[in-house]
């Protein structure tokens, strides 16, 4: 996995977030505080700018820059969570994309202390990691993330701002799981040929 590939991934993610900014905010309006779209858009715009300004030439540096940018520009819950995701990925990207994503996921769990089923981004990220670990393709992982996102709808939130609504949070799709599904969709679109097991893509 090289820096150019990761840049393509993150650039695509930024595009998707920007295009769906209002939808993400609308989801966050229903069970949160109406800022997830602007949070993620602000953060990913900064990431793309930071990567363009001084393109890191190795994958780890790139992911680290992405993580620190998100941590220092987003705030809210998504800043530390997405920031930690990329910072942890940086440490494991040498082993390949799947192990890196798994490491990032563990960072998210450690930082946010959510469990699967708490109606958070964990519910989209966890299934995607499982698919990749089992040798699945990025397209399959993206599908798993999308399924996980959809599965948040009936859940009662137990972490994050939506948890204050109690039973009333059921029936709404989690905004963070929705942005995470976009992250995986971007991966499938840009790193599509790349296998999850640490092999390089054959162009």
């Amino acid at each position: 996995m090289n820096a150019a590939q990761l840049t393509a991934w993150l650039t695509r993610f930024a595009e998707l977030v920007h295009a769906q900014r209002d939808e993400l905010t609308a989801l966050d309006s229903a069970i949160g505080d109406a800022d997830h779209g602007s949070n993620m858009d602000r953060g990913m715009t900064e990431v793309v700018a930071a990567l363009a300004e001084a393109p890191p030439d190795d994958a780890a540096a790139l992911l680290k820059r992405t993580g620190t940018t998100l941590v220092s520009k987003v705030g809210g819950a998504s800043g530390p969570l997405y920031g930690t995701l990329f910072l942890r990925m940086a440490g494991a990207i040498g082993d390949g994309f799947a192990p890196a994503l798994r490491a990032g996921f563990e960072g998210v769990l450690a930082r946010g202390k959510a469990e699967p089923g708490d109606k958070t981004m964990v519910d989209a990220l966890g299934p995607a990691c499982d698919v990749l670990d089992a040798g699945g393709s990025l397209a399959e992982a993206a599908q798993a993330a999308a399924d996980g996102r959809d599965a948040t709808v009936p859940l009662v939130a137990r972490k994050g701002r939506a948890s204050y609504l109690g039973e009333r949070s059921a029936g709404h799709q989690d905004p963070g799981a929705t942005s995470t599904a976009l992250l995986l969709q971007a991966a499938a679109e840009t790193l599509g040929g790349v296998q999850g097991q640490g092999e390089e893509a054959t162009p």
Partner: protein
């Protein structure tokens, strides 16, 4: 959306320019979006740092000054500030006696302050203790959830603990006091209308004529339940009852009726009258009171009630001089 702003993206930066211009005794670090006491760091004094999303003014920036906070970090509207801001604030107020982080219990605030504390620990010798405020009885408190939100008690805590820090008490004592204040404060809120986050451009939720949200937070997140609009007398009951059910209050409380932004002071006094009547009937005397928009949620109409069990020490600290844009007496 009808707002007196320039660009939604600039609202926090613009407001901080206004604060800097209006309050020359404060120092505003525009790059980091931190409001500091003009004389920070105060040698030998524990530094008090708080912060959170913007849109709750005067909290927290308006509570910076002698007798209250040493610094406040301003996040985007309703979005926790980032660790860099908290690090800058902590370094800016470190007078050698350590720094207390006062954090309202929201996932974002807690995580960002946590990362900031990790960074401070890694980079400098400043001792940091964190106290999390979680006083909102609208939220079920459970090991398996994020716990209760921090709301109205935060204002009272910042004032009381600020006075203790001003007296020169050591960090451990100041932190203990903060925990004690959080322990004895309980709040509950109601919204009559939604607010509009500038970047979102439309109301966070829809609240039809004739309905209100009970158990509202301060970020426009929906409340616990929606009920028909009721007279102030009944609304006061709906707010005070769960507070009294959650904790035993005895004579001598600080009673705080807080406006969420869009409710006129006239109405807050109507609510205060009803709250006072309920407390009187319950045999709970009010030792001190605070009525006004101190912890707002942009232009949301509604209010919250906070009760804090006071004792002689807390009252003495409450009465001590404070000199901030938002709360000022004795100075």
């Amino acid at each position: 959306m009808k707002k007196l702003i320039n660009d939604p993206a600039d609202v926090v930066a613009d407001a901080l320019r206004g604060m800097a211009a209006a309050h020359p005794r404060l120092r505003v670090d525009h790059e980091n979006r931190v409001v500091l006491r003009g004389d920070a760091p105060v040698r030998g004094k524990v530094g008090l740092v708080s912060g959170g999303g913007s849109g709750h003014e005067p909290m927290h920036g308006g509570f910076v000054g002698p007798g209250m906070l040493d610094a406040a970090c301003a996040g985007e509207v309703f979005t926790s500030p980032v660790p860099d801001q908290m690090v800058a604030a902590t370094q800016g107020v470190d007078g050698g006696a350590g720094v207390l982080h006062i954090v309202k219990n929201y996932t974002g605030d807690v995580m960002n302050f946590e990362m900031a504390a990790e960074l401070v620990a890694a980079e400098s010798g400043t001792e940091v203790v964190t106290v999390v405020v979680d006083d909102d009885v609208a939220v079920t408190d459970s090991l398996y959830t994020a716990g209760r939100r921090g709301v109205g008690t935060t204002v009272l805590l910042e004032k009381i603990v600020g006075a203790a820090a001003e007296e020169g008490r050591p960090l451990a004592e100041v932190a203990d006091l903060a925990r004690r204040v959080d322990d004895t404060g309980r709040s509950m809120g109601v919204a009559l209308t939604s607010c509009t986050v500038p970047a979102a451009g439309k109301p966070t939720f829809d609240l039809p004529e004739g309905e209100m949200e009970i158990g509202i937070g301060i970020h426009g997140e929906p409340g616990r339940r929606r009920v028909p609009l009721a007279p102030a007398r009944e609304v006061a009951q709906m707010l005070v009852e769960p507070i009294l059910a959650d904790r035993t209050f005895t004579d001598g409380v600080i009673c705080f009726v807080n406006g969420l932004g869009g409710t006129p002071l006239l109405e807050l006094y109507v609510v205060y009258a009803e709250v006072a009547a309920i407390l009187e009937k319950a045999g709970i005397g009010i030792a001190r009171s605070l009525v006004g928009p101190y912890m707002t949620s942009l232009e949301m109409a509604g209010c919250s009630v906070t009760l804090l069990q006071a004792d002689d020490e807390l009252l003495r600290l409450w009465d001590a001089p404070v000199d901030t844009p938002g709360l000022r007496w004795g100075a």
